[in-house]
C-alpha cells in the first residue's frame, strides 16, 4: 500500500512538473530565437556557439538546422531544457544580452515563406530519404508543379495533404523533423530548380501498385524514382 502511494505521488508530481514546464515554454516562445529566426541576435548566437566549439556552420544570421543542433548540444552540456529554443535561461547561460524591447513592427511587412519551407522539407525528407540530392530537389519540384497545375489543389498544404496522394501523409512519417539536406533541397526547389522538367507525378517502380500511373509520360528517372507528367 505504501509503495502504491509513493508511486502515485511520484506520477502526479511528474505530471504536474511536465505540464508546468510545458506552459512555461509556451509562454516565452514568442520573443525567443528559434528555427527560422533571423538577425543580429542570431549572428551573436552563432558566433558564441562557434567560439565554444558547438557550431561549425557559417555565421549567416539565419537560425537553421545546424544552429538548432548546436543550441541543443549547448543546452545538453549546460543542464538546460533541451528544446533548441534560445529562451531567457539559455540566453543567460550564453551570456547574451537579455531581450531588447523591439519597436513595433511596421505595417505591411509581408508574410515569410518559412512555414512553406518546413512543410516541403518534411515531405521531401519522408519521401526521398537516401535519394541523391537532385532526387530530393525533384520531389520538391513535383509538389510545386502540382500547386501550379489545374488538376491539383492550388496551395502547397492542399497538395501535400491531399488524401491518397502521398504515403508519408498516410503513415504519419511526414511529422518527422527534416534533416539539413532535405531543408536545403526544399529551398532549391522553392527557388525554381526543377530537375524533372515539369513533372507532376513520381513513383518508385518497386512499390507502385497502380497500372494507371504507367500511362503517364515519363521524363526521367533519378535514383529509385520515376518522374512523369
Amino acid at each position: 500500500m505504501r509503495r502504491i502511494k509513493t508511486l502515485a505521488i511520484f506520477f502526479i508530481s511528474a505530471m504536474l512538473f511536465l505540464s508546468i514546464s510545458y506552459i512555461a515554454i509556451e509562454r516565452v516562445n514568442g520573443q525567443n530565437l528559434y528555427w527560422g529566426s533571423r538577425g543580429d541576435d542570431v549572428r551573436e548566437l552563432q558566433t558564441k556557439l562557434q567560439r565554444w566549439g558547438y557550431y561549425d556552420g557559417p555565421i549567416s544570421s539565419v537560425y537553421g538546422p545546424q544552429t538548432f543542433e548546436a543550441v541543443k548540444d549547448f543546452q545538453r552540456a549546460n543542464g538546460l531544457a533541451v528544446d533548441g529554443v534560445v529562451g531567457p535561461q539559455t540566453r543567460a547561460a550564453l551570456g547574451m544580452s537579455q531581450q531588447r524591447v523591439t519597436a513595433a513592427a511596421s505595417t505591411g511587412q509581408g508574410v515569410s515563406r518559412s512555414d512553406d519551407i518546413n512543410l516541403l522539407a518534411r515531405i521531401i525528407h519522408a519521401e526521398a530519404k537516401g535519394e541523391p540530392y537532385e532526387g530530393k530537389v525533384a520531389v520538391g519540384a513535383v509538389i510545386l508543379n502540382r500547386v501550379r497545375n489545374p488538376a491539383f489543389p492550388n496551395t502547397m498544404a492542399g497538395v501535400i495533404y491531399q488524401p491518397c496522394a502521398f504515403e508519408p501523409v498516410k503513415n504519419g512519417s511526414i511529422n518527422q523533423a527534416a534533416d539539413d539536406e532535405a531543408y536545403r533541397a526544399a529551398r532549391d526547389s522553392l527557388n525554381g530548380w526543377d530537375p524533372t522538367g515539369g513533372a507532376i507525378y513520381f513513383w518508385n517502380p518497386a512499390t507502385a501498385t497502380s497500372r494507371w500511373i504507367w500511362t503517364r509520360q515519363i521524363t526521367l528517372r533519378i535514383g529509385r524514382h520515376v518522374f512523369a507528367h
Binding site: S61, S112, A151, I218, T219
Partner: protein, 448 residues
Amino acid sequence: MKKYIIPGILLVALIAVGVWGYNQQQQKNDYHIYLDTQFQRQFYDLIGHVENVQVDLSKAMLSGSSNDMVRFLNNTVNQSYLAQEKLTQLPFNHSTIRQTEKFLSQIGDYCTAMVSKSLEGYVPNEEEMTTMKELHNYANLLAKELVEMQQHVASGGVNFGDLRRIGNRDIEDVDEHMKDLNLINIEERMQDYPELIYDGPFSEHMKDIKARIKGEAIDQEEALQIVTDTFKDEGITNPRVIESIQNTTIDGYYIKAEKNGDNGSEVSVGVSKIGGNIIWYLNPRALGESKLNAEEAVAKANEFLEKRGYSKMEPTYKMAYEGEMIINFAYKEKDVLIYTDLIKVKVALDNGDIIGMESHGYLVNHHEREIQEPELSEEEAKEKLSSRVKVENSRLAIIPTEGKHEILCYEFKVKFGQDNYLIYIDANTGQQKRVLLLIEQEDGTLVI
C-alpha cells in the same frame, strides 16, 4: 485453492484484454465516424459551391453593365476555387477526378482573366460569351450529378471513411467504388468541355510552350564535353550521362560528375539536347564559414556567366541563406530589363565556388526581340501612380503576364509607409499591371 491461482490470473487477464479491446473498438468507431462526417461536410460544401458557380456565372452573362458582370464573375472565381479545394480534399482517387478538378480550376482562372479584361473596359465578344455559356452548361451538369451522388451518400451507400482506407490500399477496388459513386460518369462527361485559351496560368496553351532557344542538336559525348568545359574552373571530373530527359519543354541529358575536394559528394547537371546549354546544375557540398560579402558573391556569379557567353546579364535580386547566396540575373537589351530571360546562380559564401545554376527561364524565353518605342513617356506613366507613393527610381522592363505573354512596362520602385514596392505600368496603355512588395532583409531582398 492453489490450483485456481493460475486460471484465476488468466481469467483476469482475459477480461482485461476484452475491456481494452472493446475500448479500442469504440475509439476506432469514434474516429471513423468523425472522419466520415468531416468528409460529408466537405462533400455538401462542394455541392453548394458548384451550384453557386453555376448561378453566378449565369448572372454574370445576363448583366447589363460591365460593373455588374465583374461582380458576378468575381463570385464565380471564389466559388469555383472553393469547390476545387473541397473536391481535392475528398478521398477520391486522383485518376478518377482529375478532369473535374481541372474543370473547376480552369473555370475560376478563365473568369479571373475575364475580370481583368472587363476592368480594362473590354466587353466580351460573341465567342467568349459562347465559351461562358458552355462552361455554364458543364457547371450545371456537374451540380446535377453531384446532387444525385448526394442521395447515394445520404442513403448510407457511401462511407467516406472507408473510401479513404480503400483508396490507400488498392486501385482496382477504388475503381469499383467510383463506379458506384457515379464519379466515373461525371469524369467521362467532363472530358469534352471546350479547350480554354486565354491569358491565365491554367490556360491550355501553357502546356504547349516550347523552348525558344536555338542551336545544334548535340549527342551524349558533346554534352559531357560541355559539362567539362563549363565547369573547368570548378574542378569537375568524370562526368557521365545517367539518363535522357524527355517529354519536357527543354529535353536534355541528366549528367552526374565528381568534384575535387568535395569528399566524394557528387554534382548533377541537366544539359539541353538543342544548343547544349546548362538547364540546371546542383552541387550539394557542405558549406564552411561565410567569408564573402554580397558584392563579392555577385561579382563571382557575374564572372561565371560572362565566361560562359551570357553577356548583358544584370543582377536583379539576391538572397543569402546559410552559407550560400542565390542571385537572379535578367537579360538586358537597349536599357530594357527583360525579366522573362532569367538565370539564377548560387554562390558558396565560403570560397566563392559556383554551386548552383538554373536557366530554365532564359532558355524558354530568350529570343531576338524588336522592342518598340513605348507610347507613353516616363512622365506620363508616372502620373498613373498613386499620389501617396514616393518614387525612388524607374526603368523600362519586359515582364510576363499570367499566361506568359510579354508586356513592356515602366518599373517604378516606390516607397509607401515603411515598405518598398515595385509597380509596373504598361508602357503603351498606362494600366497598372503588377505590384510587388519588396521584403528587405539583412541577407538580401525577397520579392513577393
